[in-house]
């Protein structure tokens, strides 16, 4: 027996979990999607991801060194941020975009609040929104076609100026033409053809596999779901946020997203395209910036879904996943405040 025994508060045993395990679990879940991205877009995807990761880790280390606090880049949180920043960028952006985005994300999005656990907004999304506001041209035009696939998900090139766009952008353009009373008959016919093609089974399958243009990480729904299944299995994320999120988007897209009136939208297309799956499973579920209570999670997910649908259908951008998650991050403390679970025994006295 030791000379001096340890005295501490209970409990004296702990579950075998740690922050590192949580973070590296997310990294593992993201690996299939990264592999898919490299397959579809080539080594450039790997290069950009690596840049973002290195920039994140370095920024974190430098700031922590400057502040004179322990350097914690091994906990994996900056690693996850780096991967997610790269995953939210088009594969054709210049090399400095992920670097600057990462620096901003870690410095302003996280470390300025004191580091892990304190940041009110998801750092990766802060980085992405910062880049989007600063260099919109780079972030909306540098898409790459997948190897052997099409960029927009449709083989038709009927509409000018959208040849270099993602499925959602094409959808937006075509819907605008349909809605615009001044469109010529020729344009209308083309637009309707494009819309039909976007809703076809071929497009859906391509979207699911990832054979369309998009951000580095959001291309293959299939591989993202594989990772998500791993996270759910390991209890690293809660089903409520992604569930409520995706369901809300699907329902709203079905009700309001159609070209010919209510209840004609293609829910499946909206769920599979863009960054919804990536956002719902990997970013909206960020523990630090989402509510802790089950009820709060549902509200959070629904809120994300509503905002995404609003931005996609009537907003200024074709895609709204990152902004809607950021907006709900902003609302998270408020949600937390008003969704405290009912305490055990907090009941009206019965007689």
């Amino acid at each position: 027996m030791r000379e001096r025994l340890i005295v501490s508060a209970s409990p004296h045993v702990r579950d075998d979990v740690s922050v590192e395990k949580v973070m590296y679990g997310v990294v593992i879940a993201l690996v299939p999607a990264l592999a898919g991205s490299i397959y579809f877009y080539g080594m450039r995807a790997a290069f950009l991801t690596l840049l973002a990761i290195v920039a994140c880790l370095l920024t974190e280390a430098v700031i922590q060194r400057m502040r004179g606090v322990p350097v914690t880049i091994r906990d994996g949180s900056a690693l996850v941020t780096g991967i997610l920043i790269a995953f939210n960028l088009p594969p054709g952006v210049p090399w400095w975009i992920p670097v600057i985005g990462s620096i901003f994300a870690i410095a302003i999005g996280k470390q300025i609040f004191g580091g892990l656990g304190n940041n009110p907004l998801n750092p990766a999304l802060v980085g992405r929104a910062f880049l989007m506001a600063s260099w919109p041209v780079h972030l909306t035009t540098t898409w790459l076609s997948t190897k052997g696939g099409t960029l927009s998900g449709t083989a038709l090139h009927g509409i000018d100026a959208v040849a270099q766009a993602t499925p959602l952008a094409v959808l937006r353009k075509a819907s605008d033409i349909v809605a615009d009373p001044s469109s010529t008959t020729h344009q209308l016919v083309q637009a309707r053809e494009v819309l039909t093609d976007l809703g076809s089974a071929d497009t859906i399958v391509n979207l699911f596999i990832g054979n369309v243009g998009g951000c580095i990480g959001e291309t293959s729904v299939l591989l993202l779901l594989v990772g998500a299944a791993y996270l759910l299995y390991k209890h690293l994320i809660d089903w409520r946020v992604p569930g409520a999120y995706i369901l809300t988007v699907a329902v709203l897209a079905w009700i309001f997203g159609g070209p010919s009136g209510l209840l004609t939208g293609n829910a499946l297309f909206h769920v599979l395209s863009g960054g919804l799956i990536l956002g719902a499973f990997y970013m909206a579920t960020d523990m630090v910036t989402s509510p802790v209570s089950p009820k709060g999670m549902i509200i959070f997910g629904v809120g994300c879904g509503v905002l995404t649908a609003v931005i996609r259908l009537i907003g200024g951008y074709p895609e709204g996943v990152s902004y809607s998650i950021l907006l709900m991050n902003v609302a998270t403390p408020l949600i937390d405040r008003h969704t405290r679970p009912k305490k055990f025994g907090e009941v009206k006295k019965s007689g």
């Binding site: 001096r4 025994l5 340890i6 005295v7 501490s8 508060a9």
Partner: protein, 341 residues
Amino acid sequence: MQSVVAKSMIALTGMAAIFGAVLAVASRIFVVHRDPRVEQVLELLPGANCGACGFPGCQGLAEAMVQGEAAPNACPPGGAETASAIADALGGDAGDVVPKVAVVHCKGGLSNSVQRLEYEGIEDCRAALLVGGNPKACIFGCLGFGTCKTVCPFDAVELDEEGIVHIDRVKCTGCGNCVIACPVNIMELVSEDMRVHIKCSSHDKGAAAKKVCTVACIACRLCVKKCPTDAIHMDDNLAVIDYSKCTNCGVCAAVCPTDAIVDEIPARPKAVIGGKCEGAGKCKEVCPVKAIEGEPGERHEIIREKCIGCGLCMEACPTKAVNMVGALGHQRAKGGALESE
């Protein structure tokens, strides 16, 4: 041009008159009694209602100030002058009591006391005690997690590597937060001019105390016997100074075998016997450390190495021949307190 000016004048005056009248009438109808002190403070505030203070307008800030929830300098636009005016208005009933400072009655650090366990948990003395975690074998001693430091609003408590707290006498305002917070009650507020303290709180019996801490009070009673003013008594195996009787002579500190009594006066002056000495021998009688020698009727001499500068001889000398002269030029004034030249 003239008409524009005229119209402007008329319109503005008209509006001002109407609004003024409305407000005047309203203030009669809707009069509400307010605390006069709030009104007074409100007068002094800028009245811009800018909200920079974080309170709901100047009214809110004034109420908070009167209730003591906001500091007099809480108004940024007002600046220093407003702050001092408000501070005056709110009145300082500080009185003229002798300022007090906190004293720590323990000096058993890591190197001179025995540790009985390894504590692991919140760095707070109260929290540690809740799980039985006083790491010292002496259960009366300073835990060294710095709760007093946390609660000190003036940054006056320092925690050294030994795990013992010290009070910065300059910063300490005697607010007493640390005294209340200390779970082992080793802090005490003492008049600022008291400089000799018993740095132990152990009520253990001498042998037991000695076993767990080399600087503990072992209840040997030497200090009680030697104290020229009877200011020390034993309380359940612990020497305690009655500060109302203490004269800072430092005799107790000099005789304490375990160094549990600390004399904080940095360089004590030493006694010097001048030409007025008539050899009355009173000084020799009172000297607690036998530092004076000399035959009756002859001039007495001080043995400098032995003198602890307590000043008893100076007071005892019937011819006022003894002076206290210190290395830094301190001279002992009447009553025992030190004054700088």
